[in-house]
Every structure is written in structure tokens, then in C-alpha cells.
């Protein structure tokens, strides 16, 4: 396949950026999208240009590093991560626009690489269960009903890639935050910190400059792990419950 790529190039956080156009040839249908970019980068290096910077690591859809907006869609046209997107989803002669995640809470580091440490800070605000090593009772001391365990797992599947924020017209991190709030909130182990967790995480989410939720549903459509939109509703409920119970 022969493709035209229009790629966002930006030297660093301060520099202005712009779309640059490249032609790539000899692309196989079996290549992953990132392998297609590898091909471009090998050519760029040999011609003395700087390769296109992009985040990637596991390339099996679980680490959450890859983060490209492809033709206006976070992670591209399929519901998966960029690394699991294959070139068979495109046609010979296509022009493909490749941009970084856009949100002021995710500033561009270089080219297609953004800084997502704001997500880490949301987790640091309360996305954990305080269980210092050595304090745990036997694993069977507290049975967890299977539906609750399954629900916890479904929310815990979030890979923290940030596609939800990238897709949201408001740059909101509600889906990310709600995934963790619901994962821990539904488990008996998470109950003691249930109220402070949701209040602190939502407050940090706001402080980091993410937008509010207008329930457009874009986040859930873009989520490669299928975290559902009702996750946000459940967090709103948690938040209101906590607001009633905790007086600060």
C-alpha cells in the first residue's frame, strides 16, 4: 500500500507545531499502525531527519502508552488501542491524519507525545486502598459476591491511555476517574475510604484542568477497553452520597 501521512510535528512543549506531510510506500496490510510509523521513521532517520516521536511500549494493547488521534478518532477507526490497529483497516492511497491527544491537562511533549502525569495525580489523590504490606487478613476472610467482583474487574480494566480525554470535546477525565472510583468502591475492601476517595479524586481531576462532563458519550465510544458511560453516572451517585455523608 502507498499512503500519504499528515503528522503533527512539534519540537517541544514551547515550540509551535504544524502538520507535516509524508509519503510511505510498501506498507503491508499485516503491519500494525505503529509498524507503519516505524517504517516512516527508519526512512526519516536515514535521510537525516528526526523521526516522529510517539509513545508506545507493550504493543499488545495493555500498557496504555500508545496515544494517537487518527483521522480525528482517538486510537483510530477500530475500537482498540493504536498498537492493535492494523493497516488492513485502511486502503491503498489513503491520506491519514495523525495528531496527538489534545487537552490542556495533557500538554504536548514532542510531536505525538503528550504528558499524562495528571492521570497519575488523580490516582495519587485516592485511587487506592490503604493496605500496607503485611497487614492483610487471609484472602478468603471477606468473600466478594461474583457480580461485584466482575463489576470491579470491568472497571479495573482501564489502561490509563487517555483516549477518553482525547475524544471528549470538553477534555474531561470523568470516565477515567469513574473507572477507578467504581473499581474500588464496589469492593468491601474499598469501603472504608469510599467517601474520601471519590471526593478527593474528583477535586484533583478538577484541579488538573480537565473539563466537565456533558455526557456526550464520546469517551465511552473511544475507550479501547469498553469502560461504559454509566460508569460516570455511578460515580456521580458516589460523589453525591459522599457529599451528604462527609462534612468538610
Amino acid at each position: 500500500m502507498k499512503l500519504t501521512l499528515r503528522v503533527w510535528r512539534q519540537q517541544n512543549a514551547e515550540a509551535p507545531g504544524a502538520m507535516a506531510t509524508y509519503e510511505v510506500d510498501g506498507i503491508s496490510q499485516d503491519m500494525s499502525f505503529l509498524e507503519m510509523l516505524d517504517t516512516l521513521n527508519e526512512e526519516l532517520i536515514l535521510s537525516g531527519d528526526e523521526p516522529v516521536a510517539f509513545d508506545h511500549d507493550c504493543r499488545e494493547g495493555i500498557c496504555g502508552a500508545c496515544s494517537l488521534v487518527i483521522n480525528g478518532d482517538a486510537h483510530g477507526p477500530e475500537r482498540t488501542t493504536t498498537c492493535q490497529l492494523h493497516m488492513r483497516s485502511f486502503d491503498d492511497g489513503d491520506t491519514i491524519d495523525i495528531e496527538p491527544w489534545r487537552a490542556s491537562a495533557f500538554p504536548v511533549v514532542k510531536d505525538l507525545v503528550v504528558d499524562r502525569s495528571s492521570f497519575d495525580r488523580i490516582i495519587q489523590a485516592g485511587g487506592y486502598i490503604s493496605a500496607p504490606t503485611g497487614t492483610a487478613p487471609d484472602a478468603h476472610a471477606t468473600p466478594v459476591p461474583k457480580p461485584d467482583a466482575d463489576s470491579a474487574f470491568e472497571h479495573a480494566e482501564c489502561i490509563g491511555c487517555g483516549a477518553c480525554v482525547a475524544a471528549c470535546p470538553n477534555g474531561s477525565a470523568m470516565l477515567f476517574t469513574s473507572a477507578k472510583v467504581n473499581h474500588l468502591g464496589v469492593l468491601p475492601q474499598g469501603a472504608p475510604e469510599r467517601e474520601t476517595r471519590v471526593l478527593d479524586m474528583v477535586a484533583t481531576m478538577d484541579d488538573e484542568g480537565f473539563g466537565g462532563c456533558t455526557l456526550t458519550g464520546e469517551c465511552a465510544t473511544a475507550c479501547p477497553k469498553g469502560i461504559p458511560l454509566p460508569s460516570i453516572t455511578a460515580m456521580n451517585k458516589e460523589w453525591l452520597r459522599a457529599t451528604r455523608k462527609v462534612h468538610r
Binding site: 499528515r6 483521522n71 466537565g212 455526557l215 454509566p230 455511578a234 457529599t243 468538610r248
Partner: protein
């Protein structure tokens, strides 16, 4: 708790949801009251008068109406202020648009902001037209709402403004009602269809009910 509500994006959404539902409730009653116009001037004018006497003799004349007005003004102001602040936050959170543009989400969802602005302007006009009569055409007569309504809908622009606004109400309610349910945490995967249907029904009934009046005036059913 009040501070938490006001300081948080989720809290402001809650305020919007509650104030929106108050306004929605008012709209339903308002729409039903409007339909009295089909029973002729006497009944309609009498209904308008009765509104001022609700709660008597416990309440003084027009007190109930003023209580409702205060609550409504508070709801409108809170709704608008929260909407404004949240919108500013949203725009700040996403300052750079994607080069590759794509049409997104439903029409109603996307038009919440513009629809809200249209409605805010409409409310001002609507009050100046039919409550205070300040911008009314054809000689505003206090205590004769039937004639006043007829006057308004006898002008082309009166009809246009009103019908555009009513459609905006429909769209706003369609997304807003469902959205408020999510914000208040009453939505769930199983309840989603019911909520969405209810939102659609509310939107259609409100739009149809409100639009029926100018249509009736234009077609001469009400004269």
C-alpha cells in the same frame, strides 16, 4: 456541603440538574395551562387570574405567584451561571481543536450550549412581551392574556421567535433530562432505555403543546 457543590465540576452539574428539573416541572404545568386557550377567552383569562389567587386566604394575592417567580429566577440564574462557568472550564480544558474534524454525538447534545443561550434570550423577550408588556405589539392589556397572546402570534416575528424557542426547548429537554438523571446518579445500564424514552416523550409533548398555540392562532382555530 454547599462549598463542595459549588467548588466541584460534578457539584455544579448537580446544581444544573436540579435547577433544570425545577424548570422542566414548571414548563410542563405552563404548557398544560397554555392549552386552556382552546377553551376560549373567558376560561383562559380566568385561569390567569386564578394563578394570582393560589393559596388564598392563607397567602395574600399574588404571593404564591411571586414565590414561584423567585424560585424560577433562582433556578434560571443558577442554571445559567453554572452553565457559563462549566463551559468556560470545558473550553479551557480543550483549547486546541483537531485538524481532522469530525461530526460528533447527537444534535441535541451539541446544541445544549447554543440552545441554552437562545432560551435565555427568549425568556427575556417572553417576559417583556407577555408579562410586563414592555415590547408587546398591539397594546398590552393587563388581565387579558387571551388577547395579548393573539396579538403576539399575529405577527410573523412573534411566531418565528416563539417556534424557534420551543424547538430549542424540546432539544434542550431531550438531552437535558437524560443528562440530569445521569448527573444525579439515577441512571443505570438497565434504566437507560426508560430514561431516554421518557426524555423523548417529554421533549415531544412539550414542543407539541407549546407550538399548538401559535399554530392555532395562525390557522384561525383560536381567534
Amino acid at each position: 456541603m454547599t462549598r463542595t457543590l459549588w467548588d466541584s465540576s460534578v457539584g455544579k452539574k448537580t446544581i444544573m440538574a436540579v435547577s433544570g428539573l425545577i424548570m422542566l416541572g414548571y414548563l410542563v404545568v405552563h404548557m398544560l395551562g397554555n392549552l386552556k386557550i382552546f377553551f376560549g377567552p373567558d376560561e383562559f383569562n380566568h385561569y390567569a387570574h386564578w394563578l394570582r389567587t393560589i393559596g388564598e386566604p392563607f397567602l395574600h394575592y399574588e404571593w404564591a405567584l411571586w414565590i414561584i417567580r423567585v424560585v424560577l429566577v433562582a433556578a434560571v440564574v443558577l442554571h445559567a451561571v453554572c452553565a457559563y462557568q462549566l463551559s468556560r472550564r470545558d473550553l479551557r480544558a480543550r483549547p486546541t481543536a483537531y485538524v481532522h474534524r469530525k461530526a460528533r454525538s447527537s444534535y441535541a447534545t451539541r446544541t445544549m450550549r447554543y440552545g441554552g443561550i437562545i432560551l435565555a434570550l427568549f425568556i427575556v423577550w417572553h417576559i417583556l412581551d407577555l408579562t410586563t408588556g414592555t415590547v408587546h405589539t398591539g397594546g398590552f392589556q393587563s388581565g387579558h392574556p387571551y388577547q395579548n397572546v393573539l396579538d403576539t402570534f399575529s405577527t410573523w416575528y412573534g411566531n418565528v421567535i416563539y417556534i424557534v424557542a420551543v424547538i430549542a426547548v424540546g432539544l434542550h429537554v431531550q438531552h437535558g433530562f437524560w443528562s440530569a438523571a445521569q448527573t444525579l446518579g439515577v441512571g443505570s445500564a438497565t434504566r437507560d432505555r426508560v430514561l431516554k424514552s421518557l426524555a423523548n416523550v417529554l421533549a415531544v409533548v412539550l414542543t407539541a403543546g407549546f407550538v399548538s398555540v401559535p399554530v392555532a392562532v395562525m390557522t384561525g382555530v383560536v381567534s
